[in-house]
Amino acid sequence: MRIFVDVLVVISIFFAFAGVVGILRMPDAFCRMQSSTNISTLGVVGVILGGILYAIFILQDAAMAIKLLIIGIFYIVTTPIAGHAIARGAYRHGVRPEKEMKVDKYGEDLVEK
């Protein structure tokens, strides 16, 4: 059983490392946001699943498993909300992608208002 836990956590570390490299290397702010999502979805899910398996089968502690489940559900629900809010706030603050956009419907909507 500890092999399953280790494999899940290693997968999670791989995706989190990919996200970190993306944040450090991507050219502009929106690309970096897209790469940070990698950390907060796949990086979280592996650790949470592995932790639930570890808490049930090795520690045999149901309270820890339920707390881990609550943390996982909270992350899955709130990460898209925070990402969307930051992207919209960055656009309205004046951050633009590095290349010039060909289609910019949200900017046209803002101008019409």
């Binding site: 970190v20 702010a29 932790g51 820890m64 707390k67 909270f74 930051i86």
Partner: protein, 93 residues
């Protein structure tokens, strides 16, 4: 239940937690270099999540559920903080 009560030894969970901490420290480069406020907000959010994962792994390693409570509170504060920064950038605060 403390760690000493268990007969199994799981040093690798500590190693994984150190991996997450090192990745969180790597992100400080972007935090100091980031050209706009949005970059810094995203990086703060990511550092929060990575330290949270390290806390969860350390809670599993030590067998104490206090660290899980701390991890839950860190997750809540990270969500509230990043949403607040986003609202401020939008100009509607």
């Amino acid at each position: 239940m403390d760690r000493e009560d268990l007969e199994v030894n799981h040093q690798e969970l500590l190693f994984f937690a150190i991996c997450f901490t090192v990745m969180a420290l790597l992100l400080f480069v972007r935090l100091f270099k980031g050209p706009s406020v949005a970059d810094r907000a995203v990086v703060i959010d990511s550092i929060d999540i990575l330290t949270d994962m390290a806390l969860i792994l350390f809670a599993l390693y030590s067998g104490r559920s206090v660290f899980l409570d701390i991890a839950l509170i860190t997750a809540l504060l990270g969500f509230v903080g990043s949403t607040l920064v986003a609202r401020y950038l939008e100009g509607g605060l």
